[in-house]
Structure formats: C-alpha cells, structure tokens
Amino acid sequence: MSTLFHLFPILSLVLYLSASISYGRDLLSEKRKLGESLGREMLLLGVALHLLSLLFDQLALLFFQTDYSREFQIVPSFPYTLSLISCLLVGIFLLLERRLDLRSLGAFVSPLAMMFLLYSGVLFHFTPEERLHGLRNDAILLLHISLTILGYVAFGFACGVSLALIVQESLLKSKRFSLLGKKLPSIRMLDRLNRNFLVGGFCCMFSGILLGLYFGAASDVSILAQSALVLGTLITLAIYGALVLGMLLRGLRGSRAAWLSIAGFCSLLLSFVFVHLIGGGYHVH
C-alpha cells in the first residue's frame, strides 16, 4: 500500500508532463482547437493522485507517530513544500481555467507545476521523520507557512501569465498574426491577472514573512542564524515590492511588468533553493 502511494507522485509527474505536451500542442498547432486534447483530464487525474500522495504522507505521520512527532509540529519540509506548491498551482489553475477561459495558460502552468514536482524530489524517498524540524505546534507558524506557500503559488501563476503576456505582446508588436495569438488570452486580461497575482502574492508573502519574524522572535530563534534566509527574502521582497508599487503608483504594465514578474520569480526560486539547501536554521529539510 505504501509503495502504491509513493508511486502516485511519479504518476502525477507523468500526467503533468503529458498535460504540458497536450496543452502545448493545442496552443501551437494551427489545426487544433484549445481543449481538443485531454490536457485538462490529465491534469485532473494528476492532481487527484498528487493530492492523495500528499494526504498519505500526512496520514502516515499521524499513524506512525513517535513520541517526538506527537509533541512537535508537522512542519512541511522543502520537498514537501515544493510538492504542495505544485499541487496548488494545478488545483487553482483547474478552478480558474473554465471560469476565466484560461485554457491556453495550461501550456504555461502545467510545465511549471511539473518542474516543482520534479524538483521536490519525488524520485527520492523521505521518511516521515525527515519532515520534522523540531518546532513545537503553533498556529502562527502554520499561518506563516501557509501564507508563504500561497505567495509562492501566486508568484508562480504571475510568472506563467507573464510568459503568455510576453508571447502575446511580441506577436502583436511583430505583426505576426497567427492562431497562437487568438488562442492566448488578451493582453488586457493577462495584464490584470498578472497584477492581481502579484499584489495577492506580495500580500501573502509579506504577511507570511512578518509572521515568521514574529514567530522567530517569540521562539527565541535568532534572526542572525537565518541570515541567508533573511538576505534572500529581502532581495525577493524588494523586487516584488518595487514591482507592485510600480504597478499601483506608476502604472507599470504590460511586458515590462511581465519581465519583472519573471525576474522576481526566478529570484524567489533562487533564494528558496539557496535558503533551503545551503542556508542554515529551520528552513532546511
């Protein structure tokens, strides 16, 4: 049974890959319509299996708790966080896809989710104990984690939307009228989505980090011990803060905002990887 559940993320990965190819084919092929392939169905199945595997991990911890794990918070580890972000990206996309007619964005979101899942190390086995960080149960800690993860997801969406916006704008500017341009959402729609995801993501991330700092101070966790985290986060937040302020106050839009959004997300990923893999403190798995 356990082996079966460990196979689920691998199956999800294969399904995300297939969905990426299907969405990409629908988007790029002149002869195909959006939604003609089974991209959505593959994503649905993939995200269901993905969710089951995430639930199984949590249930395994509950069923096989040690005294140590009973006392301490089940804090998501680095791979688990990445996997959760991947699952949320797909889940939220599937919820928004039909409502906002964003089928074409599947070609941008699916590969992103696939990369997160791949990077989360699904191919490696982690014991439940490996997910514990020795932090006591705390609501603020959970809120900190949830908000930052939501921030990552929103920034991930903003990045996907920005890529689509850049493609659409370059098609229109270069005056290459193709079906690709007709299949992608309009520039105005992509711009609005980008702005909403960025503002939403920034609010989540900013409040999540504030809560993290508060939790650190309350738990006597030295900020200096988290210097790598602080530096990475500050750089990323500065980029996103400038971007959001530019959007709200100076009317920064279109491809310029999209490029900054992509740059911000790359920086976020770098700081995320750097903090979790190289940095010290509680953010390593």
């Binding site: 229109l172 500017k173 005056k175 079906l179 341009g181 309009s186 009317g251």
Partner: protein, 457 residues
C-alpha cells in the same frame, strides 16, 4: 468637357472600341507608392478630365481605394501604345514621381483580361480581404462620379452595370462574404487580442467615410458601446456618430479625447504632404495618462493618418492596411473552395459580356434594318389612311385611327424582327471577327433584299 466627351462617346464612333484597364494595387506596389498614387475625392474630376483630354481615350472611370488606383477606359483597338503612354504620363504628373519608379508596379489589361479583372475587383476577389464588400461601394461611387461628368458611354455603362451584377451574383451564390471578412473585421479580431471583451472598450474614428462607418459597424456588433467620431466637418461626424450612439468631435479635440479611448481608427483622406492626424507625442502623452493601459491604432487611411513611429511606443499597437495582409493570408486558406465557385461565376459572366461585345458589331446593321422597317410601317399606315379617307372617313376619325395603326405596325415590326435579331446575335457570339461582318451583311441583305429601298417599292 461634357460636350467633348459626349461627342467622343457617340455610339457609332466607339462601337468597336476596346476596354482597357491600368493601375496599381496592394500586390503590385508597396504602401509608399500607393500613397503617392492615391486619388482624393477632390482630385478625381481633374484627373478624369485630363484622361478624357487624351485623344485615344473615349470613356474613363477612375477607382481609388486604400489598396488600388485603377483607370478603366475605352479606346480604339490600335491604341495600345498610346494608352500606355497616356497612363504613364497621367500618373507621372499626379504622383509627382518619374515613371521609372512605378513602371514595374503598373499593370495593364485589355479586352477580356481587363473585363475579368474588373469583375474580380467588383466581387471582392482581388481585394486584400477576399469577399469584402467595401470595394463594390467604392466602385459604384467611382462609376456614378464618372457618369455624372459625362465620362462614360454605352460600353463602360454596360461594363460597370455587369460588374455590379457579377458582384451580386458572387455574394448571393457563394459563401465568400458570409463571414464578415473585411479589413475592419481583421482589425476587430486584433482588437480582441489586445482588449479581450470589447464591450468595455471605447473606439474613436477619425474620418467619416464609408470605410470608417463600416469599421464602426463591426465594432458595435462586437459589443463596443462608447464611440467618438472626429472629422473635419463636424456635421458629417455628427451624422455618423448618431448611427452608433456616439459623440462627434472636431479634429482639434483629438489630443484631449485620446487618453479616454482604447481603439483609434484612422480612415480619413489626407494629402500626401500633410502632417499625420495623430502624432507620436500625443500618443506618448495619452499612454502616460492611461498609466500604461494599451491603445490600438488601426490606420486604414492611404496616405496614412497616423505617425508610423507610434508603433515604437511601448503599450501602443499600430496596424496599417498592409499589416492586415497576414490576416488575409490566414483567411485565404479557409476560403479556397468559395473562391473557386466565385471565379467560375466571374468566368461565366466574362464570357457572356464578351458575347455581348461581339453582337455590338451588328448594331449598325440592326439599326439600319429597324429604320427601314419603321419606314415600311409609315408608308403602309399612310396608304391605309388615304383609302379610309376615300371611303368616307373624316379628318378627326383618321387622326384617331392613325395612332392605332402606328402602334399595330410597330408591334408587327418588333415581332417580325425579334427572331432574326436573336438568331443573328446568337450566331455572332460564337463567330470570329471576320464572320461577324459577313453575318451582319447577310442579315441586312436577307431582311432588306439586296439594297432595295422601301421608298422605291
């Protein structure tokens, strides 16, 4: 001009004339050259007059649209070189450039190829966007204008009426025009790529001509609710704005309104040397005021209405008529089957028109026969009246009977000649040039006898 033209156009003189067509279009010449060739409404009469001043040109119609400038004329059959020389000279003066610069782009057709070309143009088969209907309206106006100037006669009148008939047949019998394909439709599609749902978008039209009106219609059907129409003549702008529930503004108010509108359509006729109606600086200010919200500029005017450097501004998208070529190419593939059906109609109509042209060689003979038979009728009516008078009918009764007898005589002549004339025309439509003369002579000899005059009989 009118008197000279009418003298030139006497049917007897231009009975054997040949139809010729020369011009440039979007395929043969780039936009820059078409801009030089463009004939504004106020220049049309003068160019028409200059054309008719040429001895070899009997009739002329000038068509000038965004995508083509063409002159359709009737000339004597041997005027090939003279016509080319005239066209080169006319356009050289009008465009203000040496003929060497445009000779490679200028095409010339005569007889059946000229008729085919004109029919294809009228049906929208030669348009940038196949099947688009504006060109037919423009062709009709060009013809009406030329006719009003007395620049057309029997041959071109018949040709243009047939061209309008062909256009109608193509639109009725094929699906080529069913998908609202036009430059304006292509522009609307592009606008949807920028703004998505157009119900929240606003449109400003510069110019109040037909192309602009059609563009407004397309955008209104796409859900746009806010319109502005800017024009030199405010009353004309007002009339057009009223049809879409929009507001009319003066050209000087454009910079003020510009930041409020998403889509700006240029469809105004301006001279080649005039400054663009919307300059780059105005757009930069508008984009700044809109805080980066994109604007879409559709320049349907030739010469161009908007500063071409607008396309370098971030968040501003500028498309001119040539840029819409890509849209056309995409649509072309899906219209191939309709295109073939439309071409068949054109071919049939060209054959029919050519057949009619051949029958025109018999016109003098037919007119002569009709005149002779009318004479027989008058002689017989006079003879009958004399008899009636001698048998006791008074003057008043004879006058009443004369009208009735003439009507009867006319009807008899018409019925008697109907079959021979139909047979002659039918045989002429398949005959060669040499046979045409023989057939007409035989027709005349058969009906009139060998030179026998009715008065002698």
């Amino acid at each position: 001009m009118s008197t000279n033209a009418q003298q030139k156009h006497a049917p007897e003189q231009n009975g054997q004339n040949v139809i010729r067509l020369a011009g440039i279009n979007h395929r043969s010449a780039p936009l820059e050259l078409r801009e030089r060739f463009a004939v504004l409404e106020e220049q049309q009469d003068s160019l028409l007059r200059q054309s008719l001043d040429r001895p070899e040109i009997s009739e002329a119609v000038i068509l000038s649209t965004c995508n083509r400038v063409e002159i359709v004329v009737s000339t004597p059959p041997d005027a090939d070189r003279a016509f080319r020389e005239s066209v080169d000279s006319l356009f050289e003066i009008h465009a203000g450039i040496s003929r060497a610069k445009f000779s490679g782009s200028l095409y010339q057709f005569e007889s059946d190829s000229a008729i085919t070309h004109l029919f294809r143009v009228a049906a929208g088969l030669d348009s940038l966007v196949p099947g688009e209907p504006q060109v037919l309206g423009q062709l009709k106006r060009a013809y009406v204008s030329a006719k009003g100037q007395g620049a057309t006669s029997a041959l071109l009148n018949r040709l243009f009426h047939r061209a309008f008939g062909v256009a109608k047949a193509v639109r009725t019998n094929t699906k080529i025009g069913q998908n609202a394909v036009s430059v304006c439709y292509a522009a609307k599609e592009l606008a949807e790529q920028i703004f998505g749902d157009l119900s929240q978008a606003s449109v400003m039209l510069v110019g109040a001509g037909d192309t602009g009106a059609l563009a407004l219609k397309h955008f209104r059907s796409a859900g746009v609710k806010r319109f502005y129409v800017a024009n030199k003549t405010l009353s004309r702008a007002g009339l057009l704005a009223e049809t879409v529930g929009g507001a009319a503004i003066e050209l000087s108010s454009i910079p003020t309104v510009l930041p409020q509108v998403d889509i700006i359509i240029g469809a105004s006729g301006i001279s080649q040397d005039a400054a663009p109606i919307i300059a780059r600086a105005a757009v930069e200010q508008a984009i700044e005021a809109r805080r980066g919200d994109p604007q879409f500029f559709i320049d349907l005017g030739v010469p161009r209405n908007f500063d071409s450097s607008i396309e370098d501004i971030s968040d501003a998208f500028l498309y001119n008529v040539d840029d819409l070529q890509a849209v056309v190419e995409r649509n072309l593939s899906s219209r191939e089957s309709e295109f073939a059906a439309a071409e068949l109609i054109v071919d049939e109509e060209v054959s029919r028109f050519l057949a009619w042209l051949k029958t025109r060689s018999a016109d003098p003979s037919i007119r002569e026969v009709q005149r002779q038979y009318a004479g027989y009728r008058d002689v017989e009516v006079a003879r009958t009246l004399r008899r009636l008078k001698s048998s006791g009918f008074n003057e008043e009764q004879c006058r009443e009977l004369e009208a009735a007898l003439k009507d009867m005589g006319t009807a008899l002549v018409r019925k008697t000649l109907h079959q021979p004339i139909t047979t002659l025309k039918h045989s002429l439509s398949d005959a060669g040039a040499l046979d045409e003369e023989r057939a007409a002579a035989r027709f005349r000899d058969y009906l009139l006898g060998s030179g026998e005059d009715f008065e002698e009989s």
